[in-house]
Symmetry: C2
Subunit: 362 residues, 2 copies
């Protein structure tokens, strides 16, 4: 038996207002006046001066606003990298991602592709990255994805939706400032929070579970329950903002040392074909997974009702057989997720018909 | 308000038998055939071939067995460093500590002092270290101290018992293999486990508490309760070995981003004067701290009774006034611990008489 030697984020700062320390953190990392810091910022913050005015740009530093209407794509990474290389005099001093899971994953992928040849689609998989990434910093502005601690950066490529999993992927620095999450709309707060909840359920019910993952997953799950089983708590509750940030962190650590499961595998299929965003996609799928996670799904339905969340229905109603096949192919390609969820004999249980029947309910 | 930018252990491997992967982990870190790996190993393992035979020594690699009868001293660090520098042809490739908190702290201190001039006593305090340490690996063989994740290395110097707190102190790599804890004697298992329990109580009841520390402290506390409130569980229970290893890890993370309190401050006094080991010293002190931690102490007494642990009594009975003064000076010197435990006005509450009266009970 061989265990994973897991790379952890080597620096973390936590606290309300800690974003103000970003400039001090970055200053010693500047390589030269020609080597700028590139900030990838979720474009919801485009006119949000309370945030952008606190980023101090020097020399050739630049903010690039990134649309997160769609899930991050390998082509988007390649375009960003080309643009950065063309427009900077020297290799950047660092990439700083400020946003949700999409922006954080883009920041990780861009920092890798600046030092690795070819196209990002060539690195989708496990341990294909050859050279260390440039310095990269993750600053979540919504909680739940776990992208701030993960060893992957999930991308939709021409052939598959799959992460760049490597020891060079994790951030060199994370800033956890719950104040940045204060304006998240309620539905998005719920969907992304449920991403964390589902990480915990999938990790804790998986065959890859171990005492390391279990302790992180249990804590994250406790925090999620505390937050989402209380209908007095909403996205503007400051204590809940802090706790959900920690839930995301611990949930991310839990899956990092185990694996996700059925909801993630199937939601990648939805996302690949229909462009469904990851948070809401997970919720749409998980709502129909009683068979795999009976207690987890029951609690999910309770939380959904408590917060008055209405999920889209029948998003697969108009799909052709061919389209179902595409989704099923993407989902079945994620072998470790199925092995974790169902066990070594998963191929006997998870048939194409079974997946089609599940997708047809969604 | 300024928050700590905390350095985390950047690599961790967890799992029963993961110690077998140590040689593979170290191989790429070897600088040259003249730059050996130095293993500092607790001398309880001197004739324990199931452990030592799995360390593969190449070139000038060397095992140094370290006595842990006494708490680690600055003079001990300086002697080890001198010995290593004299006897190696080149700066070592790394220091690997295999043992309890004492050995882990020695390994951290030695790795720092190989690259920093002068004596280790000059670095007792906060952020006095100038140069990065050499590569150092921590492998706990008993659970509870949190030394595997901490940013300090606690040493008894000529003038004080105080840690070398620095960004260069944390290990570069930690191996968490619960199998290494399988032969810990019951009393030591309890004392060191209680070090973790007390970390949690002090962190969770301190004024420095924040959502980061709270989430780690609560998880560690839950795990401690699960283990020590069940009299069917002893040191040979494998599941408990795994869970206690995680409790130690999370408890260490909790105090890393907050602070310890009264038990640690007073136990440092005992240790400085009487050489009382840290685990048992914490227990002796904590047993008398109902005033500060009523619920925590009540639960501690319950666990102590459940496991039939008898603490030494009247260890301060024969002390002179001068000796009490020495202990009180050491304890009062740890200002952040008191501020965390009692608040900003702690000096009005924690008088010398009060501490003397407490020590007299022990």
């Amino acid at each position: 038996m061989s265990y994973k030697n897991f790379p952890m984020v080597p620096r973390v700062i936590f606290g309300r207002g800690s974003f103000n320390q970003l400039n001090d953190i970055l200053a010693p990392k500047r390589q030269s006046i020609n080597a700028p810091f590139i900030y990838l910022v979720d474009d919801v913050f485009k006119n949000t001066t309370w945030l952008t005015s606190r980023i101090s740009l020097s020399y050739d530093d630049k903010i690039i606003f990134v649309s997160t209407k769609e899930e991050p794509k390998t082509t988007q990474v390649d375009e960003l990298v080309e643009d950065i290389i063309l427009k900077t005099k020297a290799r950047p001093s660092g990439i700083i991602g400020i946003g949700g899971g999409s922006v954080l994953d883009l920041a990780k992928a861009v920092s890798i592709m600046i030092t690795n040849e070819g196209e990002s689609k060539d690195y989708q998989g496990w341990d294909l990255v050859k050279n260390p990434a440039i310095y990269h910093v993750g600053i979540p502005t919504i909680s739940g994805t776990g992208a701030e601690v993960s060893r992957t950066t999930v991308l939709t490529g021409p052939e598959k939706k799959l992460g760049i999993n490597s020891d060079f992927t994790p951030f060199d620095q994370v800033v956890l400032d719950s104040e940045l999450t204060k304006d998240v709309p309620k539905d998005q707060w719920f969907y992304t929070g449920m991403d964390c909840y589902i990480h915990c359920i999938e990790s804790l019910n998986g065959s890859y579970l171990n005492a390391f993952s279990k302790s992180y997953g249990e804590k994250a799950l406790d925090l999620c329950k505390e937050i989402f089983l209380d209908d007095n708590i909403g996205p503007s509750n400051i204590e809940a903002q802090e706790n959900l940030m920690m839930a995301s962190w611990h949930g991310g650590m839990s899956i990092a040392y185990s694996q996700v499961g059925v909801a993630h595998a199937m939601s990648y299929g939805l996302s690949y074909l229909l462009g469904t965003k990851h948070g809401i996609g997970n919720c749409i799928v998980f709502d129909h997974l009683e068979e795999f996670y009976p207690e987890g799904v029951a609690l999910f339905k309770e939380m959904k009702a408590l917060h008055g969340i209405e999920l889209p229905q029948s998003i697969c109603a108009q799909l052709t057989d061919e389209e179902f096949e595409i989704m099923i192919n993407v989902a079945l390609g994620l072998e470790p997720l199925w092995e974790n969820a169902v066990g070594k004999n998963w191929k006997k249980i998870i048939t194409r018909d079974k997946l089609k029947a599940l997708y047809q309910k969604m």
